[in-house]
């Protein structure tokens, strides 16, 4: 017996089994790899998103690809096809010199087989041209002649494929007839035109009897099912007398219903044709206040809404029309609101006035040249995309219509070919975060409007309305959720009898796992109509419920012990809940009555007064009322967030060591005093985490917002309007954003902002939580 129980009997008894060690080792590494893997995965996602977003912040890359000698030195203008392979130069004789360009191996540019060749359009008459102007949108050159007439030459580009399947660009020139601008006119000096469907407006500076005259002439043509008829002169306007100073440039406005004339003295005259009458609408000085207000250049941006000006010394501004607010006096006098030009953007200065200008046909980018300096700028944001002082002085230049090529011609007839790599000129910090005065707006604003109708409408990519929407949705949800969730957690952990708690807690946890699409669906189709028709009821209930709770709670505490005996502590809800339901019912039924009494809306047309909150609210507050509004989102997102906050906060409160609550109770504190003085401070780090996790959930919540609001990216705190959140924006727009487009990357940028937002919130929360925990840490 003794020898059997001898501790030396089994020499292996101190050994550790290899299996245990191996498993321990394996698990240690497994856990390590798992942890590091998760960190790496999150980091990789972050890197991927950043990598998608970075191109938005890059400036343009412009590279000289080739220089080709054409020998044409006396050209007036240059033009180029969409592919940048068959540019042309036009001289004042009306000859077009085409330059055939080929790309070898898709890389280097060389002169193609056709080389440099000259084509003269078949003009209807022999005349001397005195002015020429190229519209790259319609690919037409308008020529003004010395006899006061003009003609248009259309450059018809067409891609053709040869036997080997290689693409070649061919061009045909089609010259129109000559049309007179008026009677007894001399040489045309400056000319511009605009073709609408059946109307054409030509504006020109023409030599006349009294020197240089400013003329505007309209033409009309018939359209029949068999084709269009010829242009017939319709009306002539002589604007000369209305202009003071020396006109130097004319432009026709975007709708073909107005003429802008700039003078050497620095003024711009804006004329509007309305029902056959022309009137001077506005005279403005783009460089008013400058020592030298002279205008160096005046040109349209894409869409003919914005005017790009340079001053004689190189200041660069953009003007656009807006509808100014009337002063009260003007309103009294019955002044009509008129669209006016105003400065919407100021860009960095050039060295001198622009002597070449071209705008992109894709976006708001434009090219300015001043002396040897060339600059590509973006109109919407006013940012310089690219700028270089060249080793030659370009005389004319043009941006390829796809904004991928640039052509500069110097005065010796050399053509310089450039490639432009600038896929996202719309991007940048200014575009995303600054107020921008967009065309057609009355002031600088933060606007998000990604899907423009066409290339001529500028896309608006401000992130601010989306961030605002995210915060607005989150805020309303949190206002609703935090008090309910925290109070419920406090009640459940400190007051409710444990046997009921066993039921309540799992129920809340199930609620937390409710898919948010269900909540969104309920919000949109069930709650929104209820709130819509019964808002006064809801308001009454929301007001009366907490009030009743407070009054009843207070009264209960004041009740003598002998009445309170009927309910054990922790069971008070048995009388409380029926009472609250009763109050809710009363509020519900009182609502329509209150509505008909307090929210009376009088129809201005019929004079009929009805109690309707939906009409009353916009009338009395001036802000809109939508059915799917922030209140619905607040409720529904609140419901999504409440279980999360509740569960975590309840855990934190239940985990307050019992020795602390016992100590408090033993010192004669009531349950509420214990909760307030001991439980809440001690659990505050946990409660803080709970709120922050709820906040994170609300910030990232997508489906509820997508379904329960109108998703309009507006910026106001009005509780009866909707919002568009960052995450909803991604969900709604990603399917329609082409991969790698600016829009696509901007959605990724939104994702990055969300990422950063949650990261910052979580970090701040963690720091605060640690500090709270240190403050309220307990013994043991």
């Amino acid at each position: 017996m003794a020898s059997q129980s001898d501790p030396t009997a089994d020499p292996k008894r101190f050994d550790v089994s290899k299996g245990t060690l191996r498993l321990d080792n394996f698990m240690t590494h497994f856990i390590k790899v798992g942890g590091v893997g998760i960190i790496l995965a999150v980091f990789a996602i972050f890197l991927f998103i950043t990598w998608q977003v970075l191109p938005l912040f890059e400036s343009a890359k412009v590279q000289e690809e080739a220089v080709i000698e054409t020998g044409v030195a006396d050209f007036q203008l240059v033009g180029v096809d969409e592919w940048g392979e068959l540019p042309f130069m036009v001289d004042i004789a009306g000859d077009f010199t085409f330059v055939d360009i080929k790309r070898v191996d898709g890389e280097t540019l060389v002169l193609g087989p056709l080389g440099v060749y000259k084509v003269t359009p078949k003009f209807a008459d022999e005349v001397t041209f005195t002015a020429a102007n190229y519209h790259s949108k319609s690919e037409e050159v308008i020529f003004g002649a010395s006899d006061g007439r003009y003609t248009l030459v259309k450059v018809e580009y067409k891609p053709v494929f040869d036997d080997r399947g290689e693409r070649k660009i061919e061009a045909k020139l089609k010259a129109d007839k000559f049309y007179p601008l008026g009677k007894g006119l001399g040489a045309v000096r400056v000319i511009d035109y605009y073709d609408a469907d059946k109307d054409r407006l030509v504006a020109a500076l023409v030599e006349g009897d009294s020197g240089l005259e400013t003329r505007a002439t309209t033409f009309q043509r018939k359209k029949t099912p068999f084709g269009v008829g010829p242009w017939k002169p319709a009306k002539e306007y002589d604007l000369t007398s209305q202009i003071e100073g020396h006109p130097i440039k004319v432009l026709v406005t975007g709708q073909g219903n107005g003429v802008l004339v700039s003078t050497r003295e620095g003024s711009v005259y804006s004329f509007l044709i309305n029902q056959g009458e022309i009137s001077l609408e506005q005279v403005f000085q783009p460089f008013e206040g400058l020592e030298n207000p002279e205008i160096g250049s005046m040109d349209w941006l894409l869409g003919n809404e914005s005017l790009v000006f340079t001053s004689a010394v190189g200041d660069n501004v953009i003007f656009a029309q807006y509808l100014p607010e009337l002063t009260p006096e003007e309103e009294k006098a019955g002044v009509e609101r008129k669209r006016q030009f105003t400065e919407i953007n100021q860009l960095p200065k050039l060295d001198g006035p622009a002597d070449l200008y071209s705008h992109s046909m894709r976006n708001r980018a434009f090219l300015l040249g001043s002396g040897p300096e060339a600059s590509i700028r973006y109109g919407t944001t006013g940012v310089v995309r690219w700028e270089k002082s060249l080793d030659f002085t370009p005389k004319a230049g043009i941006l390829g219509s796809r904004y991928e090529t640039m052509l500069l011609a110097d005065d010796t007839g050399r053509l310089h070919f450039y490639s432009i790599h600038d896929p996202h000129p719309e991007g940048g910090f200014k575009a995303f975060f600054s107020k921008i005065w967009y065309e057609g707006q009355n002031e600088p604003k933060w606007i998000y409007q990604s899907s423009a109708a066409d290339a001529e409408t500028e896309p608006k990519f401000s992130m601010v309305p989306l961030i605002f929407g995210t915060l607005k949705g989150t805020l309303y949800a949190m206002i609703f959720a935090i008090p309910i969730a925290l109070l419920a957690a406090l009640y459940t952990s400190q007051f409710l009898k444990p046997e009921y708690k066993k039921v309540v807690k799992p129920m809340m946890e199930i609620m937390a796992s409710l898919p948010s699409v269900v909540l969104g669906f309920l919000g949109a189709l069930w709650l929104a109509p209820i709130i819509d028709t019964r808002f006064p009821s809801i308001m009454l209930i929301m007001f009366f419920l907490p009030l009743t709770a407070l009054i009843v709670g207070y009264g209960w505490g004041k009740l003598p012990q002998r009445y309170r005996l009927y309910l054990r502590p922790g069971q008070e809800f048995l009388i409380f809940i029926p009472l609250l339901i009763g109050i809710a019912l009363i509020g519900w039924n009182l609502g329509p009555w209150v509505e008909s009494w307090a929210f009376v809306y009088t129809n201005p047309d019929t004079g009929v007064a009805t109690g309707d909150f939906r009409l009353w609210w916009p009338e009395h507050t001036g802000v809109s009322y939508d059915q799917r509004n922030s209140l619905v989102v607040g409720f529904m997102m609140g419901f999504a967030v409440i279980p999360i906050i509740f569960t975590i906060a309840e855990d934190a409160m239940s985990n307050v060591p019992q020795f602390l609550t016992s100590a408090s109770l033993a010192l004669g504190a009531s349950r509420w005093q214990t909760a307030k003085r001991v439980v809440l401070p001690t659990a505050s780090p946990g409660m803080f985490s709970a709120i922050m996790i709820g906040f994170g959930r609300a910030v990232g919540e997508t489906m509820i917002v997508v379904m329960a609001t109108g998703n309009t990216p507006i910026m106001d705190w009005n509780i009866f309007s909707g919002m568009r959140t960052q995450s909803a924006n991604i969900a709604v727009e990603l399917p329609e954003a082409p991969k790698d487009s600016t829009h696509f990357r901007i959605l990724f940028f939104g994702a990055l902002l969300l990422f950063v937002m949650t990261f910052v919130v979580n970090t701040v929360a963690e720091v605060a939580r640690v500090r709270l925990r240190n403050k309220y840490k307990t013994v043991g």
């Binding site: 100590a663 408090s664 033993a666 004669g668 009531s670 003085r677 403050k775 307990t778």
Partner: protein
């Protein structure tokens, strides 16, 4: 008040509530369906120290927690019989538990200061009673700390966190906190079990000086401690009160052999 001659009075007799301050009458107690206190009847005299001794699990703490109804927090308890403090039943439905707990202070086995300053710990019972006059609080803090022999050690750091004190200091702080509102009774459940001999000695001295003011009930596993600090000793076994008498008698000349075995360390 102090003229009663305990040596003459036999155990388990009910005399006037003035002298026999806590009176336990036919008291039984159940956690759910398991009975842990069996039909106990005895009285504890005013301004004396009564020690509860007995093996682990015999219901000492349970009985002690009944005196200030801390057991109320536990689900499924019930009792029969009665406990009276100063002649009033503590189970009287008309009695406010809060006011009972103000009369019956408690010091726990493990020191449990609040994560607040020393000052705030001590004035807690006054604050929850709605008393917040600065001069009054200051006075209470000083008096309580002096009574618990902590004043000299902490008087310069009253606003520091109580958690910075040593274990013995924290336990004395808890005593100071329990006596701040001047209860009539002080319940102590193994107040020295987490302390070293020096700190224990200090607490014992403290108990000696406190009994002039308070009626003290102390649970202890330390026989010497019971012998040193208490006037009367109750020995429990398996939920039953086996013997209750003058401490000297219990330790020198117990009537029951179980008691003798236990106090002499020959037990179980």
């Amino acid at each position: 008040m102090t003229t009663a001659a305990p040596s003459e009075s036999p155990a388990q007799t009910i005399s006037s509530p003035d002298e026999q301050y806590i009176q336990v009458k036919d008291f039984s107690f159940w956690y759910g369906s398991s009975q842990v206190i069996f039909d106990q009847t005895f009285d504890m005299p005013k301004q004396k120290v009564t020690a509860f001794i007995g093996p682990s699990g015999c219901g000492k703490s349970t009985l002690l927690r009944c005196f200030n109804r801390m057991n109320d927090l536990i689900d499924g308890i019930h009792h029969t019989g009665d406990v009276q403090v100063g002649g009033e039943s503590i189970f009287d439905p008309m009695l406010e538990v809060i006011s009972l707990r103000k009369r019956v202070g408690m010091v726990f086995q493990k020191y449990n200061p609040f994560p607040k300053s020393i000052y705030e710990n001590i004035v807690y019972s006054l604050r929850v009673a709605g008393r917040s006059k600065k001069s009054e609080l200051d006075e209470v803090v000083e008096r309580s700390l002096r009574s618990s022999a902590l004043w000299d050690e902490v008087k310069d750091r009253l606003q520091d966190s109580a958690l910075g004190l040593s274990g013995g200091q924290m336990q004395r702080l808890c005593i100071a906190r329990a006596i701040a509102n001047q209860p009539e009774i002080l319940l102590m459940d193994e107040p020295c079990s987490a302390l070293d001999p020096v700190a224990t000695g200090k607490i014992e001295e403290l108990i000696h000086s406190l009994k002039r003011q308070f009626t003290i009930v102390i649970v202890t596993h330390n026989m010497q401690q019971a012998a040193r600090v208490s006037d009367r000793t109750a020995f429990f076994y398996l939920g039953k009160l086996i013997e209750y008498d003058e401490t000297q008698k219990i330790f020198m000349n117990p009537e029951k052999s179980q008691t003798e075995d236990y106090v002499s360390g020959r037990f179980g």
